[in-house]
Subunit: 213 residues, 2 copies
DNA sequence: CTAACTTTGCGAAATTTTTAACAATCGACC
DNA sequence: GGTCGATTGTTAAAAATTTCGCAAAGTTAG
C-alpha cells in the first residue's frame, strides 16, 4: 500500500507534515544525512511512533536499523505536500498588517509568491509595496483569473472579512489564510487557516490563571 | 459536578473556548440576549453538541427550551479562561514583526498589555515604539521580575529563538507566544503557542495539489 | 558468518474526541 | 394547569487518533 494516491489521510497528519519538512531541512543544512524517527521526534517534541505512523500513510521511506535518508525523505515529503511547486498568493487589505505580510521574505523563500495586493481605501491604492502596486479591490475577480492566484491572504478588518471572503470564494479560490479575528464561513471545498494570536493567548491564560495567586 | 475546579479538561476544549467568547461578544454587541447552542454553532461552524459538551466541563449555564443568556455565559467563560484579569506581556525582537506586534491594538483591547520590549541589536535599543522604550535583552531577567511579566512574545529570527526561549524559561515565565519559524523546546509546565503562517500555507497546498492539474 | 543491537512499518489495543440519543426541564399558548 | 415544541445536559456509542508490541530487516563488531 505504499504511496497511497490521495485522500482519507487524516487532516491532523497533513498538518504535521510541514513541521517534519522544516526539521528535515534544518538537518540537511547541518549536513546530516541520516536521521531516525527517535531523533526527529526529539527535535520536534513528538513521539517516534507518531512520525513513523504519519509517514506510513504515504509510503515506506526508511531503512530498518538505520533510519531515514534526510535528502530522500525531504524530497518525498515536499512532493507529497506540493512544496515542489511554486504557488501564487494575493493579499487583501494593505494596512499595517497587510504591508508586513507583503514585506515578509519567508513566504517567497518557501515558494509562495505574492503576485497581487488589494485594498478598498482610495488612499493606498496605486502605492507601491516592494514590487507590487496596490490594486483596487474591484479588480479582484479579473486579477485572480489573469494571475492564476492559488491562495488569498485576508488582512482586512473583522467587519469586512466575511464579505471579502465571499468574493474570494466566488473566484473559485480554494485556499484562504485569514488574519482577521473572525471565523469566516466558506463552502466545504474551500480550506481556511486562521492566524489569530489573540485566541492563542486566550487559551494560555486558562492555565496561567490557576498558577497565578 | 457543575463548576469543576480545575484540570483534566481536554486541551482541545480549552482551545475552543476563546472562540465561543468571541462569538458571544459579537452577539452581545448586536444586543442579542439569548442564544441556543444551535445558533452559536452555526456562527462558528461547529456542531451544537460540541458546544454543549464543551460547556458541560465547566458547569450548567443554559436553560432547557430557551438557550443561554449571552451576558451570563460570556461572563462565566471569561472567568473560566482568566480573561477577567489583566495580563502583562513583553515582546522580544523588535524588527519589522516585533514592531507590528507592539503596535497592534488587538492585544490591549483583550486585556493583554505590552509592558516591555527587548532587542539585542544596539541600533534599535533606546528607541521608542508607542509608549515603550526598547530595552537591551540583558535587562530581561530584571524586568520580567520587576514588571511581573506573565507572557513573553518571541519575534526574533529562528536561529536565536531557542536561546531566547531558554532565558525566558529561566525567568519562570509559563506562557510563550512564538512567532519564530522553529519549534522551541520547553519544560512541560511551560505553554507555547506557535504563530506560523508558512506552516499553515504548507498544509493547504497538500489539498490544492490534487486539485491543480 | 554469527550474534547482538538498532530501527522501521504495521496490525491491534488503548485512549481521546466527537457524535448520537434521550430524559428532564423550560416557556408559551390555550 | 395541561399540552406542545424547543433546547439543555448527560450517558452511551461511534469515530478518530495515538500508543503499544513485535516481526522483519538492516547494521556493527568480532
Amino acid at each position: 500500500m505504499p504511496g497511497k494516491n490521495n485522500s482519507n489521510i487524516p487532516e491532523v497528519v497533513v498538518q504535521r507534515l510541514p513541521q517534519y519538512v522544516r526539521a528535515l531541512t534544518q538537518l540537511h543544512n547541518r549536513n546530516i544525512e541520516v536521521v531516525s524517527s527517535k531523533e526527529l521526534g526529539d527535535a520536534l517534541g513528538v513521539t517516534p511512533v507518531q512520525i513513523r505512523k504519519d509517514l506510513s500513510y504515504f509510503g515506506r521511506f526508511g531503512k530498518q536499523g538505520r533510519g531515514y535518508n534526510v535528502v530522500f525523505l525531504l524530497q518525498e515529503l515536499r512532493h507529497v505536500l506540493g512544496l515542489d511547486k511554486q504557488w501564487t498568493a494575493a493579499v487583501i487589505g494593505i494596512g499595517r498588517l497587510g504591508s508586513a505580510i507583503l514585506s515578509y521574505p519567508g513566504f517567497g523563500q518557501e515558494g509562495f509568491n505574492m503576485v497581487a495586493a488589494f485594498d478598498s481605501a482610495p488612499l493606498g491604492i496605486g502605492s507601491r509595496i516592494g514590487e507590487l502596486i496596490v490594486q483596487n479591490i474591484d479588480e479582484l475577480e479579473r486579477t485572480v483569473k489573469s494571475k492564476a492566484i492559488d491562495i488569498v491572504i485576508i488582512a482586512v478588518p473583522a467587519e469586512q472579512a466575511q464579505s471579502v471572503t465571499d468574493r474570494v470564494v466566488k473566484c473559485r479560490v480554494k485556499a484562504i489564510l485569514n488574519y482577521a479575528p473572525i471565523k469566516v464561513q466558506v463552502p466545504s471545498d474551500v480550506r481556511v487557516r486562521e492566524i489569530d494570536p489573540v485566541l492563542a493567548l486566550q487559551s494560555m491564560t486558562f492555565h496561567l490563571k490557576s498558577l497565578h495567586d
